[in-house]
Symmetry: D2
Subunit: 345 residues, 4 copies
């Protein structure tokens, strides 16, 4: 079968490296272009030796013509780049998957407020589809431009959607206490991400406001059909990969079968795993895998629901989900290239 | 000055080892008896080489006479032991500090419900003082028997007391999302505590009910003057030491100076550090130190207070707090032997 | 194509779990029997949630008939089990791959000396083939019983074989300074393997003598054609997976192209990767992958060769190598089911 | 008693922070000046929250007059700074302790070869005393300028000195296989030191040549009375603190009491701990403590000595050793302020 020609823009970060790892095993994807201004001329496996033997790509300076010759282009760049380059690619028939924040917030003013940057592609923004397949599968199939969700928003939305869609909980006073591995902070040289600063410690950050809050609010409000109010506190965990969202919601009325609600909502979903009653998911159970494991609990007070939702932030929270969307956009089986079990221990 | 003769019962766990470390530096404490049935005859520093050069103690089988000759005895045992042995020691004039759960819950029925064990010393239980000096200092000074608080309850109570004492927040719907290092699980050979099971992973546990819940409820209700309702979810962090409590409460009415409330409440407290506005405490900033660092935040919705409270579970959450109580009980300066800064990185 | 029926005896440890992970992706292997006396009746994915969705196996008590109906049986047991059960299986036409130490040492007396156990199957021992494909490929193809090498011996032999086979270094005074992740110690509840005992620390162990020493000596002596003398010191690294062997040998005479020697020796080997000159392999570059990455260096003194050799102890050092042998024994492509890149970070 | 006025130049790295921690507890030291051009105006405890309550110092731009008013000045700077500033301070009667490499190598040409920098203070270099008290105590007492040893050289020299001083081993073919925690790489924002690059991995580095090699050779040659030949391979361990040196030497003739040799050599040394026969030191047993624990073993071949030597690279390998030298230079008890036990777990 013919392969699908792939370009990756900005492949030197952790989500870029993860895309390379996943696409190296994808039976239909063929990497044609891999860009990085800074590393141009260098082999990808010189930067990421884990890929030796699996990836012959060499970083190059972005060339519009070479990118336009691709069938699909992934942006694994900081925010601000995709909105500059994506519109021209779409025009020329390239399908675009953006792993950055550029097209996640439907309201350009909200984007500007949180990212301190005017949105330069409002038309593309209007067209962009939010790439959470479990909530927007059909739209993704038809999309030319997919905005892949942030890592925290993926874990939170998958965790709360069943309750909000069914109108079972208060839409005010939600709490999302989230914990992330350090790769969520990116592969940038900064003091706060040093081994010695992170290991054997735990802390919250961004309590006064984090960029994923408006994305979470937008997504959950879509589920609820009304604007939700949520307090979101992210924390940094001394580990590389993994997000654990602990979600608190107040039941509007008693619910007989909480786990059943989740099992039914996610029946048929290949990448959402509702655990047996009473289980607690570990992040390592999804390490390297494109899956969200969820366990809803009724708290001891009988009215607070506690939902535990875990993903690998680099896979279901970023690159794996992007490949999942890619499969949908190209009419491929949704699980293609995404069927490896997690690596534990 | 004359030294105070100390006995430690059950010194082979992490809280026992931490007591040995702290008391080795305490200018007035003199360790006379260190018991362990299993390790009897072995030097403590053979078990804990970090103590080489600082501790000559040898484990011995518990001997009532030798214990009764001490001025103070610490129990660093699993629950069930102190309630058997403490009453006789108290009778003979020994002051007792129990680091286990035996005397924490004032209601013996509640103890039995959570610990599956009938309480064998109801009179001692009635007499026991809860050893959280910032809430019960004067009673501790006069106590013969102190029940040292659990690690989670310490972090949660210090974090929420100012709000509850002042009646500023709803007493229902409180949330304590707590994260603990692995030493909280003890130095027992069990699969779940193995390095390979814990490292690079994060999980919740005990969502259906954890033994620290009734202790937290009891303590907070005392602060509030009414029974509080709280959802408590503990999590396991891939680190040795440290507890981070992220606490959520709903303001009853707007509050002008949240940090000021905390600064005032803890003014003069040597072991509670209220951080500057906007800061986020890291657990490593208290590693090895007998201090609780707290940072209260007002959430983006303007009505949810988010309090961040960190301690070292083995120090302020256990052995350090026990020494703090010991100092109070013997009329010593409260900070004696507890003035070392934290070790970071 | 018809599938090959597989049995695994003792699947509750880390090598057992890794076999399950690897075989779940193997296109020709079909797991028929998975035994554990202790966990009989329990689903494998209840013990190892990372396998949820990838493995439906249920532990059962070993049943000779059900095992004899398999085409191949893997032993992932402590030493002493395979030598009891393997001979009968071989008799009945089952091919056996033993991941324990039972058939590694060709000299039964040497086995008894190091493992304190008389060897009960000397005939099988005589027949057993040492399962290091890069040294014994043809014998493995024809074998009925393969003794899969230990993790340290794999890293050391692959690292030193080119020098010894070519007679380039002194065969006395070799040094193998080896470092292993904690999963090498197994999934047993023991104090020394607890998270709090391992994290943020580093130590040597077994300096007076380690069971892998005779295996290393046997293997290297085979390469050299004479008995070698080697000092082997294992160390414990605060990580789950990975072995790093740092190997020291004295050149008998100057060598022009050290890297060329290695590149030529391992040309065509799918699972040995000789790094570019000057590189230093990281264990994470092989995490989860069946590959040994090697980098030979000439030391500053011009006469000491320093070889760096890394593997994942659970994959190329155990279960992956077993699957590689399995492929050879059944005439399958050697890389079948073993082509996933490493997972980093 | 009068306090000794201290200045610290460059207090923003890990050795600087460790000096602050240690001096905060030193009964005679009074910190007067703390410099950092980059952080001038900022409180030290804002950078290092673990120091809150123990250190009121504020970073300032270096001012020669204020530094000259100190009794002692510590340089915790990258190489190249101390050789510019130290001579003027010495002239003005200030005692200088340099934690950088500027005055470690007695041969200025050798310095230039390894550090790519011409030495600008050859007279001071000639005067400088190498600050390893166990080898040069008397000279340190009289010194105006002390060059504090590197971390690896400390562990290696203390480990091999007894054998070399006694002429018991070959002086050629020595091997120092060393492993260091990540804080040895400094508190600089660089990709290679990121948490995600370091955790759960292990690697060698600098095999072709490391700057500590000439320092080690110089020190060991001094012990042996002849030029030694040693192969030194450093490795990076996924932990913050700790160095483990595994040292290999060939006995010239059989030795009856290896441990006795060490015990006798280090009798009376407060900061060298020779372990019981057969023990293996763990780096965590020295975490935060100014001690080197050593265990010499005779290898299975009966002629190779394997010495295990561990220190905390930031304490006995840097700041603690500097304070030890400081005590000697000012006629104080050598252990003053350095008597805290290690922190484990």
């Amino acid at each position: 079968m013919e392969s699908i020609k792939i370009g990756i823009i900005g492949g030197t970060g952790y989500t870029g490296a993860e895309l390379l790892r996943l696409l190296a095993r994808h039976p239909r994807a063929e990497l044609r272009v891999l860009t990085s201004r800074q590393e141009a001329g260098k082999r990808a496996d010189a930067l990421f030796p884990a890929l030796r033997g699996h990836c012959d790509a060499v970083f190059e300076v972005p060339d519009p013509e070479r990118l336009a010759a691709c069938d699909a282009v992934f942006f694994a760049t900081p925010h601000g780049t995709a909105m500059q380059m994506a519109p021209a690619l779409i025009e020329r028939g390239v399908k675009v998957l953006d792993l950055s924040a550029d097209f996640r917030l439907k309201d350009a003013a909200e984007f500007q407020r949180w990212y301190k940057l005017e949105h330069s592609a409002p038309a593309a923004l209007a067209e962009a589809v939010y790439g959470l397949p479990e909530l927007h599968r059909e739209a993704i199939r038809r999309a030319r431009l997919v905005a892949c969700p942030g890592c925290y928003p993926t874990a939170v939305q998958l965790g709360l959607a069943p309750l909000l869609e069914a109108g079972l909980v208060d839409t005010r006073g939600l709490v999302a206490d989230c914990k992330s591995g350090t790769s969520g902070g990116g592969r940038e040289a900064k003091i706060g991400s040093l081994y010695c600063e992170v290991t054997e410690s735990f802390k919250a950050y961004g309590v006064p406001g984090h960029r994923h809050l408006p994305e979470i609010t937008q997504g959950l409000s879509g589920c609820a059909g009304e604007t939700v109010g949520i307090t979101f506190v992210p924390h940094l965990v001394p580990m590389s990969r993994g997000i654990h969202a602990t979600l608190y919601a107040r039941l509007r009325k008693p619910l007989a079968d909480l786990r059943g609600l989740y099992a039914q909502r996610y029946a048929g979903e290949a990448f959402v795993d509702v655990l047996p009653v009473g289980d607690h998911p570990e992040t390592r159970s999804v390490r390297g895998a494109n899956v969200c494991r969820i366990s809803p609990h009724l708290g001891p007070d009988g009215e607070t629901v506690v939902v535990l939702s875990v993903i690998d932030n680099l896979v279901k929270g970023a690159s794996g989900q992007a490949v999942q969307c890619f499969n949908l956009m190209f009419g491929l089986p949704e699980t293609l290239g995404l069927d490896a079990p997690a690596l534990a221990p």
